[in-house]
């Protein structure tokens, strides 16, 4: 089997180094780029991200990537969002006002009540029998966010509690996102990344 190539979308937000290292450790070929010609030849597109969503969407627009990503999702190319990258997949967000998202998975990004934040290691609870995530059910992953995905339950495939259940992983066809940081979740995170990408490519 040929080596899987992952195109990490460089839109000026977040820390790519950890994602790149994790993926290379797992044997994947990695390109960090904002060039559509390079993203076109990747097997999997990956949206990482640390930051606020309005700035992220502005950067994606400035780089001409919003339309591109929407078109790739329609073509059913595998697309993975991590943390902010997962939130970008939603229809809209209320972070610092109302901002339209990529609208690849119906739902809105809303704040935890009372300025709450959710930072630290929490247990993943699979709510659907999705092969991308079931092998990681019950494992702890690192979360760092203050907004969460609120959308139809059919797109929520795994959850965590803070204290009530919220979406920890969402999926619509070949597009999926995780609210936590698998690249910063030590061995459990690497195991999830390996399974998720392999399953997506072979789906």
């Amino acid at each position: 089997m040929s080596i899987i190539t992952i195109g990490i979308i460089d839109y000026g937000m977040g820390n790519h180094a950890s994602v790149v290292h994790s993926l290379r450790d797992l044997g994947f070929r990695v390109r960090v780029t904002k060039e559509i010609s390079e993203l076109d030849v990747a097997d999997v597109l990956l949206l990482p991200g640390v930051g606020a969503l309005p700035v992220a969407m502005r950067n994606l627009h400035e780089r001409g990537l919003v339309t591109y990503l929407q078109e790739q999702a329609r073509l059913q190319r595998p697309l993975v969002g991590i943390c902010l990258g997962m939130q970008l997949l939603a229809s809209a967000s209320y972070e610092h006002g109302y901002t339209a998202g990529l609208d690849l998975i119906p739902g809105e990004i809303k704040p935890f009540t009372d300025h709450g934040v959710h930072i630290g290691w929490n247990t993943l609870e699979c709510t659907q029998n999705d092969p991308l995530y079931t092998s990681s059910d019950g494992q702890a992953f690192y979360f760092s966010h203050s907004f969460y995905f609120d959308g139809p339950s059919e797109y929520q495939v795994a959850a965590a509690r803070h204290p009530s259940l919220f979406a920890a992983a969402i999926r619509r066809g070949s597009v999926t996102g995780v609210q936590f940081h698998p690249e910063k979740s030590q061995a459990a995170g690497k195991a999830l990344l390996k399974n998720l990408i392999t399953e997506l490519v072979n789906a």
Binding site: H118, A187, A188
Partner: protein, 257 residues
């Protein structure tokens, strides 16, 4: 449920990892990247790297160090503090490999920049570091550059209440580096604020850790010197803490890839 955290702290001075005692005495430990690599290997919940001479010297964040740490391929979340003066500094720190930033001098200098950091990086990525001691029955906030302690101003409390920062690291600066030194009263005197707290400074014993982690407003304990005195200190502490609030110790052999 969300677990509380054990944060490993690496203090950097003049480019070297040091043991720090009471914000005034320092002993060299070695290369920062070696200390950080150990903490990553031992399964620390987060790693805090604080370059304590960058703000005073106005030299900005230590990007060279961040580059070295990025090349390690850490799989543990990294918090960086030191020399952050602007929103652009904070954004670059994240782009160079940190997951969150912690600010101290900036809380004295310009709260509007802290607000800007929160808007650019997200609230969750910004931590306020507040070194405190008890004086005249109230908390006094220590400015490590001027060596002056003063009551915490209303502007800082207001910023905390507005959720501009995600967590506050409350440091017992007088007892930093002292075994069994952390004064739990500092936490109790801060309890009216709803923000999650990170306790740091002189936390060395399981009894201290247990007492601190039992407090609802303590989200994490941060330990510096006392993780450096023996191998696998993180796992050993976690093994004996016997607390369901912490993530259990992790051993790499449990996850063959």
């Amino acid at each position: 449920m969300l677990k509380k955290r054990l944060i490993g702290v690496v203090t950097i001075k003049n480019g070297w990892a040091v043991q720090s005692f009471g914000y005034h005495r320092y002993l060299p430990l070695g290369k920062p990247e070696c200390m950080v690599e150990n903490l990553d290997r031992w399964g620390t919940d987060e790693i805090l790297v604080q370059s304590i001479d960058r703000s005073g010297a106005k030299t900005g964040p230590d990007y060279a160090l961040l580059g070295k740490l990025a090349r390690l391929g850490l799989s543990t979340p990294l918090i960086y503090g030191g020399g952050i003066r602007t929103v652009e500094d904070g954004a670059k720190v994240i782009q160079r490999g940190a997951d969150r930033v912690i600010v101290d001098a900036l809380l004295h200098d310009d709260l509007s920049v802290v607000k800007g950091l929160s808007e650019q990086l997200g609230t969750q990525a910004v931590i306020a570091s507040i070194p405190v001691a008890i004086g005249a029955h109230r908390l006094e906030w220590f400015d490590y550059r001027s060596k002056v302690a003063a009551p915490i101003g209303e502007a800082l409390f207001k910023m905390i209440r507005h959720g501009i920062v995600s967590e506050v690291m409350l440091t017992d600066w007088q007892h930093e580096g002292t075994p069994f030194g952390f004064n739990n009263e500092l936490i109790d005197m801060f309890q009216n604020e709803k923000v999650p707290l990170i306790a740091f400074g002189g936390i060395s014993s399981v009894e201290q850790m247990t007492a601190l982690l039992a407090r609802p407003n303590v989200a994490a304990i941060a330990i510096g010197n006392f993780l450096s005195y023996r191998e696998h200190a993180v796992q050993r502490f976690k093994e004996v803490l016997a607390s369901g609030s912490l993530r259990p110790p992790i051993y790499a052999t449990e996850y063959p890839l």
